[in-house]
Amino acid sequence: MLKKITAWVEDRMDLSTVRHLMLEKTVPKHRYTFFHLFGGAALFLFVIQIVTGILLLLYYKPTAGEAYKSVKFIITQVPFGWLIRSIHSWSANLMILAIFLHMFAKYFLKAYRKPRELTWISGFILLVLAMGFGFTGYLLPWNELAYFATRVGTESVGATPLIGHWLLQVFRGGEDVTGATLNRFFAIHVTVLPLVIIGILSIHLLLVQAQGMSKPIDVEEKGKIPFFPNFMLRDLMMWLGALIILLGLATFLPWELGRPVDTFASAPAGIKPEWYFLSMYQILKWMPAALAGIPGELIGIALINIGGALVLLVPFLDRKASREERSPWFTIFGILALVFLVAITVYAKLY
């Protein structure tokens, strides 16, 4: 039966590339093979986000008056609504965590080197987009914490030279965070970002398939694992593990709904963004009011952008790796960056 269908399709379309992918694709086997699994995990969590996101859309109402109530309705009245909503929130966080792990794993394996520069760049864009998802999605339940976090978060956009104020207004849909902001964030979260991310993700995956997985410099290869089914099964194991963790988190630590937005209330103490924004938040917080006449906020934003640009351009900066030579300086730099990020995030979380 299956054969017949394949034959029918083959008659009309060349399936050789697919067959090649399925049967002949291999993954290099070495002691770091495990680190190739995080990308797959991020992909799996992204699929979960799409599915649960669509499910939430069935009941969610993106207006200032209804948003909070509709989320409350989902988690109290809809069967398993609590699970879907909690998974959506938790999976978002795990996805970003998986992307970070994926990025650092690939960084230390120097997988960005020629010919995979584009894979690295598209991957970096995917990280930024994922954070965009997090930022816009955080506001959607329209609860107090999200409201104030968004107010603070969008504030820094206003520091952009020349067009700052205009940009702020475009983001907020007005001078302040209001129902208009909610509408804009909702539109970005469910239409703009998904469209863009699927485009970039396709390129990223296409590149991975076309180029295969990179082999680290100077690492002894112990042979090759067929991608299908052997490596696929490993991916599947990773995904199942992630699913179990997600279900456990959603059951035992259900994502809080918080209190509804009360625009006249004063900001509750200790407003902090989600953990993946904490490092940026802390850098902005440490900036002086002004330095040599330039607003401190602007300097902070400039620093963050320079940091991002450095990460983006790593494949071009690391000349040695592209010549298949060891580049210990980049490893050291990576370790420093990792330690710095973890330390600053923990610090911002605690103080």
Binding site: V51, G65, F73, T76, P79, F80, L83, I84, F264
Partner: protein
């Protein structure tokens, strides 16, 4: 021997895969089934329908997890307050005869501006802003 073991493993895998899929799908299917109780029942900022109150009456509504009181003054004006008595935290009510807000616990009286007229309450009731929009009366916290 090895073959039968492999077969057994494959069989188990098949069964548990089906089970796993069922475990994932069943909540989704239940989620998709429409709920009888519709969401309109859960409303908190809409204190009342426009034609619900007549002059010199009042009603309680929920303001988050706390009660609020919406009154229509004898002049037909809407006013809203926290319904929590400032004395010991009882829920107040509207007394049409006295044209006052009244707390039954210790007979505290508030006037139609929420100020204490008599009885033990130490402070006026917290006033909320209310406005009519369409056929509904909305209540929200006032700008301090």
């Amino acid at each position: 021997m090895a073959l039968s073991r492999r077969k057994f493993l494959n069989g188990l895998l098949g069964i548990f895969s089906l089970g796993g899929m069922a475990a994932v799908m069943s909540p989704v299917i239940q989620y998709l089934t429409p709920v009888k109780k519709q969401e309109t029942a859960v409303s908190s900022v809409v204190a009342a329908k426009a034609n619900e109150l007549t002059p010199n009456t009042g009603k309680l509504f929920r303001f988050g997890s706390k009660p609020g009181i919406l009154i229509m003054t004898p002049d037909g004006e809407y006013r809203a307050f926290s319904a929590i008595c400032t004395h010991l935290g009882c829920t107040v009510q509207y007394s049409s005869e006295e044209q006052q807000i009244w707390c039954a616990c210790h007979n505290g009286h508030y006037d139609l501006n929420g100020n204490v007229v008599s009885g033990p309450p130490p402070r006026p009731l917290e006033a909320y802003a209310c406005f009519a929009k369409g056929s509904e009366i909305f209540v929200q916290r006032q700008k301090s």
